[in-house]
């Protein structure tokens, strides 16, 4: 960084302590204007804290912040916004029942009012950066990618020139990621400075001009993408050797655990969300489901677990026809379920861990004793999970909410592996989980598979699908359209199969349909 141009953002010697923990120390980041600067690191490395400091949500205990060469004090987000800093949060902060226009002007009514002037401004920004947003559309009708564009539009509308994007790709499918990157390049071309937080290294390498790596709260290196590989970056992040999913020899037996036949699931008005789905999983087999999100994966998983009733077709587990069974009965019969959205479907966030151990196991030992909750059993088994799955928590009386996402997920996986399940239904088991935890979860799934577990694996991570599955089925518009052998298939092949041979129109339709 020998250039003499004034840095858009310069963070020097930032230290932020929370009671009992140092979240950031020795942080040195320099962001040149008009570039995409990536900030990478494992979950808990201090990325979010650092960005909250830059956005005025938190104040650093030591160190200085310079914006365009001027030292500033950012006490509130309003200060940051006034300095031209905007933040796009990972979890969208949009009101579903309001229109795009209303969401954008909310809290910024003074800029262009709330009427036609604001509408014109939104049209202008949308056209300038290719956002393709209609100000009067309701947010609830928008797909994930479009919602994210609304978030970006919000910060641009407020006059931001330095935009922080917190894990913007976490919620996107690959095609949407591409679209996002195109938008970001457009923004860069217009002279905006982008700070891009991620732990997806291939994406970082694709979009960033410079990359700063954070590890345990400190910046450890700033590199250019041309000089490093994703493997190098990963090692910088974890500071040690890396795991990766790898296939092993087959453990597939001939005992059929799950047999889904001619399954059809409809929405409230009778449109098919799933049709003609036939699927068979044997003991010791992992069947991966690949597809663009919103093509029926959720419905398939819910139909197998018993949350959703099929309109036709059957679900058979071992020798029993379980089509008419409720979720509880299926789970009692040995179905483990790692839901797609762990916070909403997998945990009671305000309950202690040991109570979360009971969740989904309300009919089974060791957390229950007949009709009664076995508190001691649940506590003891929670401790076992915490130890075996390396869940970082002070104890099992800690509420689930206090844990980081990765540790929450490890706990869920541990719980769902308990009680010798015969079938594991896993949706995105490692999404949002850091590298170390990811490896642990993969090991556990492989281990269970060796013992004869049948696994239905839905994932957006192609490496994960290829690394763990014995066979991969592609789902498109509610139908299973292809079967691939993970030993021979490439991510590119899978990618085009998911989208119906790369047909853009199909993708759009699938996305819109959500």
């Amino acid at each position: 960084m020998s250039d003499t141009a004034t840095a858009a953002v310069r963070l020097q010697g930032i230290v932020k302590r929370f009671p009992g923990v140092v979240a950031n120390h020795d942080v040195e980041v320099t962001v040149r204007p008009g570039t995409v600067h990536a900030l990478v690191g494992e979950n808990g490395a201090g990325k979010s804290t650092l960005m909250k400091i830059l956005y005025g949500v938190q104040k650093p205990d030591e160190g200085s912040i310079e914006i365009d060469g001027q030292t500033v004090v950012l006490a509130t987000p309003a200060d940051a916004i006034a300095r031209g800093i905007g933040m796009v949060f990972q979890h969208f902060q949009l009101a579903d029942n309001l229109s795009v226009l209303e969401n954008v002007v909310l809290g910024a009514e003074k800029r262009h009012g709330i009427g036609d002037a604001a509408r014109r401004e939104i049209h202008r920004i949308s056209a300038e950066y290719g956002f393709d947003l209609d100000p009067d559309e309701l947010v609830e009708t928008l797909g994930v990618g479009a919602r994210q564009r609304v978030e970006i539009l919000k910060v641009l509308y407020r006059g931001a020139r330095i935009i922080i994007l917190d894990e913007p790709t976490a919620v996107l499918v690959p095609q949407e990621v591409e679209a996002l990157f195109a938008n970001l390049r457009e923004l860069k071309r217009e002279g905006h400075t982008l700070i891009f937080i991620s732990h997806k290294l291939d994406e970082v390498l694709a979009i960033a001009d410079e990359i700063t790596v954070l590890r345990r709260g400190a910046t450890v290196a700033t590199v250019r993408p041309a000089d490093v590989t994703s493997h190098d970056l990963a090692e910088l992040m974890v500071g040690s050797e890396l795991p990766s999913p790898s296939t092993e020899e087959s453990t597939v037996t001939d005992r059929v655990v799950l047999e889904v036949r001619d399954l059809r699931v409809e929405d409230k008005v009778g449109r098919a969300l799933l049709s003609d789905v036939t699927l068979r999983i044997r003991a010791g087999e992992v069947v991966g489901i690949a597809g663009v999100e919103g093509n029926g994966q959720t419905e398939l998983v819910e139909a197998v677990v018993g949350i959703r009733r099929p309109s036709t077709g059957t679900v058979q587990m071992l020798d029993a026809d379980v089509t008419a069974w409720g979720t509880r009965r299926r789970r009692a019969a040995g179905v483990g379920y790692i839901p797609e959205d762990r916070q909403r479907h997998g945990l009671l966030l305000d309950a202690p861990l040991w109570e979360n151990r009971v969740l989904g196991h309300q009919t089974r030992a060791p957390s229950m004793h007949g009709y009664w909750i076995d508190r001691h059993g649940a506590v003891a088994d929670s401790k076992r999970i915490v130890a075996e799955y390396d869940v970082r928590t002070p104890g099992v009386n800690t509420t689930a909410r206090a844990l980081s996402g990765g540790n929450q997920q490890k706990f869920i996986v541990g719980r769902e592996m308990s009680g010798d399940p015969v079938l594991l239904v896993a949706s995105h088991p490692t999404r949002g989980v850091d590298v170390g935890a990811q490896a642990a979860i993969w090991d556990q799934i492989r281990e269970a598979r060796r013992r004869g577990l049948a696994v239905l694996l839905v994932s957006a991570d192609l490496d994960e699908l290829i690394g763990l599955s014995d066979s991969i089925r592609v789902i498109l518009r509610g139908r299973l359209v292809g079967t691939f052998d993970p030993h021979t298939v490439t991510p590119q092949e899978l990618g085009s199969a998911k989208t119906g041979a790369g047909d853009e129109a199909v993708v759009d339709e699938a996305t819109v349909r959500r």
Partner: protein
């Protein structure tokens, strides 16, 4: 950030809510008993020490409770006594009423007057424990299966007689030959008003149509505490052609007056219990034809004086059923506002005399 904004708004909103509560508390208190001119705060004579337990509504109902208070004020001054008045809470149970009476008794009151029939069970529970204290219940009666007590007086009023006279006044005033009656609760006590009113109307002209409605079957708050209910009922009657509406509905009757105001000139309301012309607002006054006076104040004065005399003379205090009627001026009608012509007044006085003489028998609900 959005969350933050919302949170701040929540905080502001709760602040406003608290402020509103405080204001509501102030407003509620203004009409409460703590107004500084309460006779009980200044009177400290050596005469009888009187405890008065109000019915729901308390001072400020411009009707029943106010009338009782007026009597209290008068008698405390006359006899140079002292007093305490206490309000009731909405929806309380017998235990709470009983407790109120016991506290008054424990505070060495010598005469305790409970305003309202609702105190019946409570007084009969408490009185045996305080044989030296005299209890009076306005409109009272012993609960079923309970015997009368020598230290309890059930103070009643011949409401049917007074209502008869205002019924006659209504009949003599109506242009549309259509009058109305709004009752608070559908109970004998109020039915007595209705029956007297109806008889009075028919006495003058049997062809007059009478519309009648009760605001509630069993909920005292809905019946006696809701001007909105009163206004709704009376508005319906005016719309149906009535031009005089008589109410026996406590505070709800204030809504009847409003309905008369809204109905326009020439539309009349008749007040109840106290002379409501005197307490009505300026815009209501031109519509208050008369009021059926149920002289709760007379009842209080007569009863307290009776007890005081008995104590002095060593005789027996009034007990059992004590009824005040036209002959003892326990009921009557008001002429404030001068809306009743001398001609009408003469007719009413004639009817009054006939009732006192027993020539006219007014039907009663008892």
């Amino acid at each position: 950030m959005l969350q933050r904004v919302v949170r701040q708004r929540t905080r502001v909103a709760s602040g406003i809510a608290v402020a509103a509560l405080i204001l509501a508390g102030c407003a509620g208190n203004d009409e409460g008993s703590s107004s500084t001119d309460d006779i009980c705060e200044s009177a400290d004579g050596d005469g009888p020490k009187i405890g008065l337990a109000f019915d729901v509504g308390g001072i400020g109902d411009q009707s029943f409770n106010d009338s009782a208070y007026a009597g209290l004020e008068q008698v405390v001054t006359d006899l140079d006594g002292s007093c305490t008045d206490v309000e009731a809470a909405d929806g309380e149970d017998d235990a709470a009423r009983e407790e109120r009476l016991r506290q008054l008794a424990d505070a060495d009151h010598t005469i305790i007057i409970a305003v309202g029939f609702i105190y019946g069970a409570a007084v009969y529970n408490v009185a045996p424990d305080y044989p030296d204290i005299n209890f009076g219940i306005i409109d009272g009666a012993p609960p079923e299966g309970v015997d009368l007590l020598t230290n309890v007086a059930n103070i009643g009023f011949a409401a049917n007689q007074g209502s008869f006279l205002v019924g006659a006044a209504a009949a003599l005033t109506t242009q549309s030959d259509n009058v109305g009656f709004v009752g608070g609760l559908n109970i004998p006590l109020i039915q007595d008003f209705e029956m007297g009113f109806e008889a009075g109307v028919k006495e003058i002209n049997p062809d007059i149509e009478i519309q009648s409605e009760y605001l509630s079957q069993d909920d005292a708050a809905e019946g006696f505490e809701s001007p909105t209910n009163g206004e709704t009922a009376a508005t319906g009657m005016f719309d149906n052609g009535a031009d005089v509406v008589f109410h026996a509905a406590g505070k709800s009757g204030l809504g009847v007056f409003d309905a008369a105001v809204a109905a326009g000139e020439g539309m009349w309301a008749i007040g109840v219990d106290s002379d409501q012309y005197l307490t009505a607002s300026a815009e209501q006054k031109p519509h208050i034809l008369t009021s059926m006076l149920k002289r709760v104040d007379t009842g209080v004065i007569e009863y307290v004086t009776g007890v005081a005399d008995a104590v002095e003379a060593g005789g027996e205090a009034p007990n059992g059923f004590v009824t005040y009627d036209l002959s003892s001026d326990g009921v009557g009608y008001a002429t404030s506002g001068d809306f009743l012509s001398q001609e009408i007044i003469d007719q009413l006085e004639d009817l009054k005399q006939q009732i006192i003489d027993g020539e006219i028998k007014v039907p009663t609900a008892f």
